[in-house]
Symmetry: C2
Subunit: 434 residues, 2 copies
């Protein structure tokens, strides 16, 4: 048997007009890809009944599976059920199971079940209900022209749960054993895509052909994926996954959707330690990333944003002589900032950063994109100087990520040297006047 032919039909005037960027179809494609199904084609149209009916008729003649997204709501422009009924030549009937779902949903929320809401239970005769564990609109399923049609809600959170809980498990059973896929995802920081590819080419010249290596840039992280295209390859993929883990070592932040800020908060919490930040060029970004994490207050008490020289002195006690002699963007200054922040906050760990975010303020010796970072604790303080040219947004976000990563490496007692400390190191040029 061949691979399943899958198409998507997206409906909605707001995605047609570009008022809303469609991310649902990417979500569907990713969740299907994780079980080895590739979407072949997608069509997007506005809320127009005849157009919908025609698209449904055409696609069901080409595909094994059609997933329709959107148009399940209670308003006049939600017309998926009606379009499907017309395409399949079935009457619309009030579906008892959908009605019961609506009643329960309203009851739990103390809402009155209004007439417009009841419309969500009016579905094509003979369709099967797909449970919606969070929203009022159930999904539904019907076969037409030997094509199975899944109608799904447009609200992303509802769509996601319906795909994960109902649709992908069902589709997974339709995939022949020899085509079943599995995916291993790793989040990696501080080593470029091309460097990873080069390392793999050098270390594993005989990479197995049925394990696909993929990268996705999610600045400043990179997601590395191993996809195995059948059940035999799945077992093999575990072996190669371990090889990749050994190769990339502590550059791997974690599996699946792990994020740097969460990893650092969790490590600190587990070790019952606290952290503080002294930020110049990142202007509070590092602290704000850490405090996005619920429970950050367990590990974080104070942060210092010291943009000007005066404030570095007044707030963190950075000696004016250091600033005058070495400048704000210097090893001596970030070390003094780090020491000051540790003393003032009584935290266990610290990161201090000072750099030139740009677009202005660069010089030949200290160009836009240069940053000094000091990190450590009362026993040991390390420093590095990185060069991250690009734009202000990229610079600030890379510095924030590197700051969290350097602390992460300290907290896991990593003995490896991070690639970016060498690859992104600033190599000072002598100014032309010297």
């Amino acid at each position: 048997m061949d691979a399943l032919k899958v198409q998507l039909l997206l409906t909605g005037n707001e995605i047609m007009s570009g008022d809303v960027i469609d991310s649902n179809s990417a979500m569907i494609a990713q969740l299907l890809k994780a079980i080895g199904i590739e979407v072949q084609r997608k069509v997007t149209v506005g809320d127009e009944l005849n157009t919908l009916v025609n698209e449904i008729k055409t696609i069901t003649q080409q595909a094994d599976i059609l997933i329709i997204n959107g148009g399940l709501g209670p308003t006049i422009d939600d017309m998926t059920a009606q379009a499907l009924a017309l395409a399949a030549n079935k009457p619309i009937v009030r579906h008892p199971q959908a009605m019961q779902h609506l009643k329960n949903w309203c009851h739990q929320r103390n809402y009155r079940l209004s007439e417009p809401n009841k419309k969500q239970a009016d579905l094509p005769q003979g369709c099967e209900i797909i449970a919606n564990s969070v929203g009022s609109a159930v999904g539904f399923k019907l076969t037409l022209n030997n094509c199975e049609i899944y109608c799904t809600p447009g609200v992303p959170s509802e769509l996601k749960l319906m795909l994960e809980q109902e649709i992908t498990p069902e589709l997974n059973q339709k995939i022949p054993e020899h085509l079943k896929t599995s995916v291993k995802r790793m989040q990696v920081f501080g080593i470029g895509e091309s460097t990873i590819q080069k390392l793999i080419d050098e270390n594993f010249p005989h990479w197995p052909s049925d394990i696909e290596l993929g990268f996705r840039a999610a600045m400043p992280l990179i997601e590395v994926k191993l996809t195995s295209r059948n059940s035999q390859a799945s077992k093999l993929a575990e072996v190669w996954h371990r090889k990749i883990v050994a190769l990339l070592g502590d550059h791997i932040i974690g599996e699946n959707s792990t994020k740097l800020n969460k990893v650092v908060v969790d490590l600190l919490a587990k070790q019952q330690k606290t952290i503080t930040f002294a930020e110049s060029c990142t202007g509070g970004l590092i602290a704000s990333q850490l405090t996005q994490v619920a429970g950050a207050s367990q590990v974080f008490e104070a942060g210092f944003i010291t943009y000007s020289n005066n404030i570095k002195t007044a707030l963190l006690g950075v000696n004016e002589k250091i600033l005058n002699q070495h400048g704000a963007v210097s090893e001596q200054t970030v070390l003094a900032m780090a020491k000051g922040a540790l003393a003032k906050s009584q935290a266990d760990y610290v990161v201090a950063v000072s750099g030139v975010a740009g677009p202005d303020g660069g010089t030949t010796e200290k160009p836009v994109g240069i940053v000094w970072i000091a990190w450590g604790n009362n026993d040991i303080l390390n420093t590095c100087c990185l060069y991250l040219p690009g734009n202000r947004h990229y610079f600030q976000h890379y510095v924030a990520a590197a700051s969290l990563d350097l602390i992460r490496r300290m907290l896991i007692s990593s003995s490896e040297s991070a690639y970016y400390l060498e690859e992104r190191k600033f190599k000072a040029k002598f100014s032309e006047k010297q």
Copy 2:
């Protein structure tokens, strides 16, 4: 003459797989909408030659205009030119004008023009070049089945310029005078979509039918758009635009894509004033938003992130008695934080915030979502207590936006009262024990 029938064809395995979320089609739709053209349908397919050829043939039989996006690059999976040549039954030829563009492009960058790059000049015979002012790949245009086909690059920045500079001006000339459209966009903060709609319904019961009022939520801002569908309505729209401006007053941050952080930095810079922040529940987010703006160092020297009570005392001199008596989330505490931050930073303006971001830490009297804000200068400090239930991300971003907005209103000497100060005001319930 009727409205133009426009369809889009998007190509690329990376958008098909969901590795990349397609935002180009939304950009195209928005830029066309601004000149009064609505996209009717879009089809997305992977990089597969036969599929592309078939889609081109089918769409050109239905549409007046087809915009193809993607597949103009130098690699093997870029096949738009080849597909179009096959669909139109034309040979591929090396196009002198495209070749000249490639030579100039490489010369300016000191690149060698490689063989794969030259492929970008191999185009269907008889096509017209569309200039690309930034990238190496030119666009091109061909007519098939009475449908004009525009082939455009997948890189968003190149696509945007090509649409703005070349394609929309050309399409604009094809629109009959009575269908020409213009759009006025305003960025609004602190007043909900339904409230705006209600205000307009109440104040302007006779809203003209050929001026369309639209909203787009860009949390925490709302974009309000006035679209006029013909040249007569355009003049009328100017009158109604002034009425909306008068109605929404200082809730309007600015026109087009204005952002709060940039407005505040510009106002402070113009008045030669500086600002500081004392942040508890936002953990540095307000300062990081301000310092995203290039040139923020002119108006910002210091920020204080004081998460714990000890640090509020140690860093900002908040009296321990205040904290013990009223708690960290109280009017007295944010006032003391604001005064401390002004004194320590010597800044002219200050915002201090303290709240319960959640998901934990709420009580009956001070539930998750409550925040106290103090803002002002050495002469006057104001306070408010808002209630912003939802999730941590929403809460932190709304508090940051409100903080910047309250300062903005002070800097423009606004005499209006902001809607959200009333609508989002926390109404304390007495705890059940009292």
